[in-house]
């Protein structure tokens, strides 16, 4: 088995929302990211997947729980002490329109992280490195002095990837990197991410609400519901043999681009994701779950292993 790159133990994060109100964004989540893998994180909006992604690279500090990078506890390090890890842990954002400074040209955008980490000594060297990064992500070098608004969404996302790559990280958290793109462009970016992973041995935490995308790119998948993990396991395993009812409903909701396979008959989940301010007692899914009983309302199920790292948190599948 590969080495564990990042490990979160019992991470909990709450946000205050107005007086005496708390949003339970992530509740007691333990998760490991292995070196060189792509871990997919899926769930509906507001389930805490972005918060968890940020906790795992310490862009947010957990209220409780520990964070380990290469086995070293980094939870209580000061920001300065954490600096040497920061370079290894980078992030790509969802919106390629909002995540690039509109007043910086491509050269300056990609040079920014290189300057931060003092990678280059001279200006010429810096420009040279920027050009290398641009070539790696497929943005033509002649666009060096263009500004973000002159690019299409796909090209902008490539620039975002180049910025993340500039620091030569080990892990990139990709937070919905293709949700804002049309399908053919989305595929180009997914191909690029795959190819970069192969050539550089990168590790990805890939956050998305789109199961088809996650299925394609991930080695392992983690399904989240309202701040907790419902199911985690190898991608093939989870998709072929989903153990948690929520995972099954998510798959029923996939819309295949094929009129012969309409899902008119598939059982759909009723209702919507409950509020994270007042999460349901017991199993957080019980208000929407057709199999819920007294125990589910009372007791939060723990993740249980069904072999080969395939785990689900449900009282019923395991019985």
């Amino acid at each position: 088995m590969s080495e564990i790159l990042i490990e979160g133990r019992n991470l909990t994060k709450e946000f205050t929302a107005g007086r005496k109100k708390k949003v339970h964004a992530v509740t007691d989540v333990s998760l490991q990211i292995l070196q060189g893998e792509t871990l997919g994180l899926v769930g509906e909006s507001g389930c805490g997947k972005s918060t968890l992604g940020r906790l795992l690279i310490r862009l947010l500090k957990p209220d409780s729980g520990r964070l380990l990078v290469h086995g070293e506890d980094v939870t209580d390090l000061s920001d300065k002490e954490f600096g040497k890890y920061r370079r290894q842990l980078q992030l790509i954002f969802q919106d390629p329109y909002a995540s690039l400074d509109p007043r910086l040209c491509v050269r300056d955008l990609i040079a920014e992280p290189l300057k931060t980490w003092h990678v280059c000594r001279t200006k010429e060297e810096l420009t040279q490195r920027v050009l290398e990064k641009m070539e790696e992500v497929g943005v033509p070098g002649e666009y060096l002095y263009r500004y973000p608004h002159q690019f299409s969404g796909g090209q902008r996302q490539r620039i975002g990837i180049a910025r993340a790559l500039a620091a030569q990280p080990e892990l990139i958290v990709c937070d919905e990197p293709v949700s804002a793109l049309d399908v053919p462009v989305q595929n180009q970016i997914l191909n690029l991410l795959n190819q970069l992973q192969e050539s550089k041995g990168l590790t990805y935490l890939f956050i998305s609400h789109d199961l088809s995308v996650v299925r394609h790119i991930s080695d392992r998948v983690c399904v989240m519901f309202l701040g907790t993990i419902c199911e985690i396991g190898k991608t093939q395993e989870v998709f072929q043999n989903p153990m948690h009812p929520y995972t099954r409903f998510l798959m029923n909701a996939i819309l295949p681009p094929d009129p012969h396979r309409r899902n008119d008959q598939a059982e759909l989940l009723s209702g919507e994701i409950p509020s994270a301010v007042n999460p349901p007692s017991g199993c957080r899914f019980h208000t929407r779950c057709p199999y819920a009983d007294e125990r589910c309302r009372r007791e939060m199920p723990a993740l249980q292993d069904a072999g080969d790292g395939h785990q689900a948190a449900c009282h019923h599948t395991m019985n």
Binding site: E44, P184, N187, N194, R215, P257, D264, E272
Partner: protein, 320 residues
């Protein structure tokens, strides 16, 4: 069935920008028959929303409908006065938008927003309007209607807001509902619910023009599909025909890209090149620079819609 709910004939809608005229929708011919769900699919910027907005008379400055005719139930609605257009919108034809939050008024309770539509279009008392509103909100699948009607939009979830939008659109039983990316902002489980609701509405007699970039959504609910590229319709046909035998290289590319994501292929299919700038369209067929079966003719002349095999299946490609 006879008659057409919506007929668009040679519609041209342009935006007059400082850099010149941008033809956002060009020579659009489109039909929606009673009881049909018709889809328009294409990438962002291909003109699908502009086409829909042209029907509603909602194209914003500096854009306007340049030429062409739009007929609703056989009556011409292009060139009618603002007042006449207002009386049609909401009663004969309604539209729902992608982002339900920005389309609802944030400072008015949702119940009143639904009632308002009735009060404008029908001679009806406030009390009756309230009753009707409650009925339709229940019909679109909202539980606990009485208390939800007293809510402001921000107190509702995305799925509920979209249901409120649909209720507002449907309350006067329009003959045509235009849905512009109605599920794009919603979660997958809610998306499936809303699509089922739209199918139900259609079975109840409303024709729907559904605009989406998502081929999955289109394949699920549409009877007939139009594919748009760079402001023009490039292919049209019955859903099954079009998905089984796509005739235009662009449709093939789009479908291939969507399907390869669901297969176990290592490398995903894409379409080479980028969508052209509408200000600087290539000569001839707009897709020719990206097409793998491009001929000399394609680079010099734009093809008309030509028959492609089965009846009603047309494509804008010289190769067909």
């Amino acid at each position: 069935m006879s008659g057409k709910t919506l007929e668009i004939r040679h519609l041209n809608t342009s935006f007059f920008t400082q850099k010149g005229e941008v033809g956002a929708a060009k020579d659009i011919c489109l039909e929606v028959r009673p009881g049909q769900i018709v889809g328009i699919v294409g990438e962002s910027g291909c003109g699908k929303s502009v086409t829909a907005r042209s029907v509603m008379g909602l194209v914003k400055y500096p854009g306007r409908v340049v030429s062409g005719e739009i007929l609703l139930n056989g009556t011409r609605i292009t060139g009618i006065s603002k007042k006449e257009a207002c009386s049609l919108r909401g009663s004969e034809v309604s539209m729902i938008f992608q982002e339900p939050m920005t389309s609802l008024n944030p400072v008015i309770k949702v119940g009143r927003q639904v009632e308002e539509v009735l009060l404008i279009h029908k001679k009806i008392t406030k009390k009756e309007a309230k009753k009707e509103a409650a009925k339709i909100l229940e019909a679109v699948g909202i539980s606990d209607v009485a208390s939800r009607m007293e809510c402001y939009p921000h107190q509702l979830s995305g799925g509920l807001r979209q249901r409120v939008m649909i209720a507002m659109a449907m309350i006067c039983s329009p003959s045509l509902l235009i849905a512009d990316e109605p599920t794009t902002a919603l979660d997958v489980t809610v998306e499936a619910q809303i699509l089922r609701l739209m199918k139900k509405l259609c079975e109840a007699g409303t024709s729907i023009l559904l605009i989406s970039h998502n081929l999955g959504v289109i394949a699920q609910v549409c009877d007939y599909v139009y594919v748009m590229y760079a402001g023009r319709i490039v292919e049209q046909g019955e859903t099954f025909t079009l998905f089984d035998h796509p005739a235009h290289p662009y449709t093939r590319g789009l479908l291939g890209a969507a399907k390869s994501l669901r297969s176990d292929a290592g490398l995903l299919k894409t379409i080479p090149g980028v969508v052209p700038n509408l200000l600087h369209l290539p000569a001839g067929c707009s897709f020719s620079p990206r097409c793998d079966s491009c001929m000399d003719l394609c680079r010099s002349e734009m093809p008309d819609m030509l028959p492609a095999g089965e009846k009603g299946h047309l494509t804008r490609c010289w190769r067909s």
